[in-house]
Amino acid sequence: MLTFSKKNKVTAYIGMAVFAVVLAVLPFIMGATLGNTWVRNLDLAMLYIMLALGLNIVVGYAGLLDLGYIAFYAVGAYVYALLNSPHLVPLLAGTGFEWILHMPLLVVLPLAALMAGLFGVLLGSPTLKLRGDYLAIVTLGFGEIVRLFMNNLDRPINITNGPQGVNLIEPVSLFGHKFSQAITVFGVEFRSVHLYYYLFLALALMIIVVSIRLQSSRIGRAWVAIREDEIAAQAMGINTRNVKLLAFAMGASFGGVSGAMFASFQGFVSPESFILMESIVVLAMVVLGGMGHIPGVILGAILLFLTPEVLRDVVNPLQDKLLGERVVNPENLRMLLFGLALIFVMLVRPEGLWPSKRRKAELHEKDEKAAAEAAEKESAHG
């Protein structure tokens, strides 16, 4: 993504090192200044970054509007939850399949990614021929179907435990250490939230690296080609069907990883966490940040994740003080702001807050043309 001349290389390395140190100590600074809730928020923000980057592959790279993206998050979460909680024990008792429970993280995580990816293909295959707006509706329907099944698959066989959700999910256990317990290294106490932070950070970095590598790869260029003009892409020899399916599968698997981590972090999953609004929130992150541009998407995820947290800290005390009662629910206000932001960004800055140069150029092509034409006219007159 970035290339440096030799002169700048040293500065760049120093910059990266500083950035790495900041990332490493961030939870402790946050914990000391803003309190422990914010360390938790930091962890959740990482999950949203992963989600937004996953959706970015589908929407940003391949230009396929997916409104049911949260379904993959749900699939990942339920895979982890069911395999790492006592919930399936009675169902599996005596079937000889008890071994699938309590597998190590390095097995469960790829499994969650794989399952979510499979669901991505499942969703992708019937919708490939559809145009953008139809695709949006079908993906939306798909997301709802997944949620409805999770809500209702508690009978006749209790698989998902219905609306009550699955609880008692075990925390992540890595190198023989359970993340629920604090660990002290060199006199520094790393608590559960800190451990999760580093795990999520590592995963997010991994997803970022994969995203960057994908972007300029053959596949990534094929996605952009499809986004810009499907027929032309096909004429250039791109197998649009496979390439689109791959976009769905890749995006979905990132969502699955994020979902699995969400399940272990919360210790509880229920269908309520996977409603349509969540899909829209993630979409808003990608769109507002800058579709197809990784730093932009990360910025969007952080901004939109933080808004409700800040709103909660500001709106309620403000209302208590000014009105003496709570009229507006911060959650309500947040969604209202999201809606307005979506409209506003599309009208005023369709490329997002931090777009890639290329996208910006594409979207302002007309302005430039108009400017060029105006200049031409002027010179003709003069």
Partner: protein, 309 residues
């Protein structure tokens, strides 16, 4: 057998409401090739405003009879939803008419969220019961029961649909609408005021949406700020099923979807031995939508749409 007829009647009632909403989707789609995501919220607004208007009207203490109150409430709600529809088109769709396809779709989602959240702010996030003002005496119909209210809903819906079809086929505005949907640029060259026609399409669709909203409220006995999403999605499915952009198709698709849903939900439990119950009812609409889009994207009566990019 009487259960079958009963489900058929219920399906017909719900289906004619779907059809009315689907007309709103299909009219806009026919002219702009745009899915007006916010249409479901218009329906919700119609229902909620009517409920509030009825409570205001009945608080005046004139003692109007029930049906008059409902009609009065609707007459207050309709201009408001029409205005909302007009404003939506003006601020969210018109500036983006030549933008990439994704853009108006995203503003539509934004509008939909804004309307829903405004409704939550105004009415709080609780179901409101629709005042019990309309006669619903049951009549025996081949062993099943059909109420006055249901008869009125179906009759009114059919009447409105016929009226709309006549308008589109016979009036000047209707002709202009058909012209714009065929070829916007050429219609403009022939002297059709394109912006006016598009605005009117939204206004008419939103008016129909308000009527449908009141029907939904009266039929189920309640309305709530988040109801727009599901009802909008089902009506959209109906429009796709019939062939989007085709008015007759929307009507056929709506009624068909209503019947599929209601008969399907009624028989799903017994047929699967209780494995799948009527709580899967909402899945029918999605399944129908996906199946139609996969096997016959043009719908029952529509032209091919899948290939256009």
């Amino acid at each position: 057998m009487d259960i079958f007829i009963q489900q058929l009647i219920n399906g017909l009632v719900v289906g004619s409401i779907y059809a009315l909403i689907a007309l709103g989707y299909t009219m806009v789609y026919g002219i702009l090739q745009l899915i007006n995501f916010a249409h479901g919220e218009i329906v919700m607004m119609g229902a909620m405003i009517t409920i509030s208007a009825i409570s205001v009207l009945s608080a005046t203490g004139i003692g109007l009879p029930g049906p008059v109150l409902v009609v009065g409430g609707l007459l207050i709600a309709m201009p408001i939803t029409m205005l909302i529809g007009f404003i939506i088109e003006r601020i969210a769709y018109r500036p983006l008419r030549n933008a990439p396809r994704l853009a108006p779709l995203i503003t539509a989602i934004g509008i939909s969220i804004v309307l829903q959240q405004v409704a939550v702010l105004v009415w709080k996030n609780n179901p409101r019961s629709f005042p019990d003002l309309l006669p619903h005496e049951g009549h025996n119909f081949f062993g099943a029961v059909i109420t006055d209210l249901q008869i009125v809903i179906v009759a009114l819906a059919l009447l409105i649909m016929v009226g709309l079809l006549v308008m589109v086929e016979k009036t000047k505005l209707g002709r202009a609408m058909r012209a714009v949907s065929m070829n916007q640029a050429v219609a403009g060259l022939m002297g059709v005021n394109i912006n006016y026609v598009i605005s009117m399409t939204f206004v008419i669709g939103s008016g129909l949406g308000a009527i449908a909203g009141v029907m939904v409220g009266a039929n189920y006995g309640l309305a709530y700020p988040t109801m727009g999403f599901m009802i909008g999605l089902k009506a959209f499915t109906a429009a796709v099923l019939g062939g989007i952009g085709n008015l007759g198709g929307a009507v056929a698709g709506g009624i068909l979807l209503g019947i599929i849903e209601s008969v399907g939900a009624g028989y799903l439990g017994p047929l699967t031995g209780g494995v799948l119950g009527s709580h899967y009812q909402d899945i029918f609409a999605f399944m129908v939508l996906i199946l139609v889009l996969v096997f016959r994207p043009s719908g029952l009566l529509g032209e091919r749409v899948a290939e256009r990019a």
